[in-house]
């Protein structure tokens, strides 16, 4: 109970600190935002009166602490203010895109976890033999190829030439399979090594040696000893993966014109749409914390040693 309260307090502090930090991003924008917005909207140099009116409308004429307070107060009920680049509220612009990103992220992470666990454990079992070496070469080479290059090639040769999947995606589950698979493979490339290292540790442990000496078959040993321990130690990495999904999908979303939050953030960055960026960054920091802590919680539930406090 006290641990839960402490977590809530730490989480609230984090959210508040990030909200302040994120709002301060606005201070980095050089020049007068009102003038910039107007000149892009009107296509000409705005007059002084127009700039003053626009500043008033955006609330930019209020002192910074007041604006900060208004922004945080609005953010608590999902109102992140008006977009600088497009008409409309930031909230209504980003919520539908978050859903699309979650779809893509879930497909990618599920595949990455499965591939990484399977690949890593197999590589550890066949350590330094052909399978292990081959896998290591493949993973090393794939890790050097940027995901967007793979994406561009896949679009051309799989989607356009072989008519599998769609070039213009609608963000549905079906459409998520292809970009999700690509993203999953690239994430798995990082994770395979981690799993392999963990699995090697487990395979070298007394537990496995004893089980083998008792006559347990490899499948039994893997199911009963290797997999549970590998999963437990791998969970934090999955947490990191879940937590950073908003940024990790950005490039793939652009390649597949996926209607997700990452691509939208990139677009907002090009258009210097700070309210959108602020909202996305705040959400991504919260997601990061929730993702990593959720996996820690799962580890706590799954690990009897930690639950009983003996480890």
């Amino acid at each position: 109970m006290r641990a839960a309260l402490r977590w809530v307090a730490a989480f609230a502090a984090l959210v508040l600190a990030s909200a302040v930090a994120v709002f301060c991003l606005q201070l980095l924008v050089p020049g007068d935002p009102a003038a910039t917005i107007l000149s892009t909207q009107l296509g000409r140099q705005p007059s002084q009166a127009e700039i003053v009116a626009e500043r008033a409308q955006l609330g930019l004429n209020q002192p910074f602490p007041t604006r900060l307070w208004h922004w945080i107060e609005g953010a608590t009920h999902g109102d992140f203010g008006r977009s600088w680049a497009t008409p409309g509220n930031v909230g209504s612009l980003i919520w539908p895109r978050i859903e699309a990103t979650v779809r893509l992220g879930l497909v990618a992470l599920t595949l990455a976890v499965v591939l990484a666990l399977a690949g890593g454990i197999v590589a550890a079992l066949f350590r330094d033999r052909t399978a292990d070496r081959l896998l290591r070469v493949v993973v090393t080479v794939l890790a050097c190829i940027p995901a967007f290059v793979l994406g561009v090639l896949v679009i051309q040769f799989v989607v356009v030439d072989a008519h599998i999947g769609q070039v213009l995606t609608d963000g549905s589950w079906r459409a998520a399979l292809l970009p999700g698979a690509l993203l999953g493979v690239t994430i798995a490339c990082y994770w395979v090594r981690v799993v392999r290292a963990i699995a090697l540790d487990v395979l070298n442990s007394d537990v496995v040696r004893t089980a083998r000496a008792r006559g347990a078959s490899w499948p039994t040993v893997i199911r009963a000893h290797v997999l549970p321990r590998v999963v437990l130690e791998f969970l934090p990495y999955v947490g990191l993966g879940i937590g950073s999904i908003i940024g990790a999908t950005a490039v793939m979303e652009v390649v597949f014109s996926w209607p997700g939050i990452g691509a939208y953030a990139a677009q907002a960055a090009v258009r210097r749409d700070m309210p959108v960026l602020q909202a996305v960054v705040l959400l991504s920091i919260i997601t990061f914390r929730l993702g990593t802590d959720a996996m820690r919680g799962v580890g706590w539930i799954l690990d009897p040693r930690r639950r009983s406090g003996t480890a």
Partner: protein, 280 residues
């Protein structure tokens, strides 16, 4: 490996400094020399347009063909690679130095001061790097310099955490204790004993990171946030080549190949080091 080891030692890299299987610094040096000399060796102007010569395939005159404006792809790739590697070195250098100073201070400054610095590091460790970098570039405006700033801001905390741990060990170790007893002031212990050691240990990790940062920079370049046209930028070149995959595949393959060639030595070295340390 303890189940919570993740908190302190995310990739097992902390133990790296204890042994030096390969010398990542040597790789950095080699890559640096190659990308610096390459533009002079290859020759050619990355900006020179010959519209009558657009989208031509590889020829003795243009070894890697030309792009949609008739610019020499090889010259663009070589110049773009140099920009990326320089930017990556700047990012890693700034993040490393900042991280070492902040981490050492967090360990050395007594009580609340140190704890506050440590908390700051915690905060920056808890932000997802890519999206925050995108936002910072969005605020400052696209361009190589702002990209360097953004990645340095999102990247230093990891080094600071490693530096802090190592500095704590050093500060409670014999060398510093003896120095303090013989009257050396605390700040000189930090600058003379702690920071040099921490630097030597973190240099290995940092050198391996150069490859990843090159990839990350190319990623943001692909999103249009890197060096602005007409300056050659690898990610941007791939993005431009997307419209000509069939007519001019070299427009994508050349920058992609350059990226791979630059990143591969770092990843391979990381794989070697990683394998050795974690294999026990």
């Amino acid at each position: 490996m303890n189940a919570f080891a993740f908190d302190r030692d995310r990739l097992g890299l902390r133990r790296l400094g204890l042994r030096r299987p390969v010398s990542p610094a040597l790789i950095v040096l080699a890559v640096l020399v190659i990308v610096t000399l390459a533009p002079a060796v290859v020759g050619g102007d990355p900006l020179n347009q010959e519209l009558t010569n657009a989208l031509q395939g590889p020829s003795p005159h243009h070894l890697l063909g030309t792009d949609e404006y008739g610019r020499d792809v090889l010259a663009r790739v070589v110049h773009g690679t140099r920009t990326s590697v320089y930017a990556s070195l700047a990012v890693v250098g700034i993040a490393l130095l900042g991280g070492i100073v902040i981490g050492s201070l967090a360990a050395a400054v007594p009580s609340h001061g140190g704890r506050t610095i440590s908390l700051l590091t915690d905060f920056f460790l808890g932000i997802p790097g890519v999206i925050v970098a995108i936002a910072i570039v969005g605020a400052l405006g696209p361009g190589t310099r702002n990209l360097i700033v953004a990645f340095a801001i999102t990247g230093w905390a990891w080094y600071a955490r490693l530096a802090e741990e190592h500095a704590r060990q050093l500060l409670s170790g014999r060398v510093v204790t003896v120095a303090r007893v013989s009257g050396v002031p605390a700040w000189r212990c930090v600058s003379g004993h702690v920071i040099p050691h921490v630097f030597r240990r973190l240099l290995v990790v940092a050198c391996l990171d150069v490859g990843w940062v090159v990839l990350a920079i190319a990623g943001l370049g692909y999103l249009g946030l890197g060096a602005q046209p007409p300056a050659p930028e690898l990610g941007q070149m791939i993005s431009d080549g997307q419209g000509y995959v069939l007519q001019a595949p070299w427009m994508i393959l050349a920058p992609a190949g350059a990226l791979m060639l630059v990143v591969l030595p770092f990843v391979a070295a990381g794989e070697r080091v990683h394998g050795r340390v974690l294999r026990v």
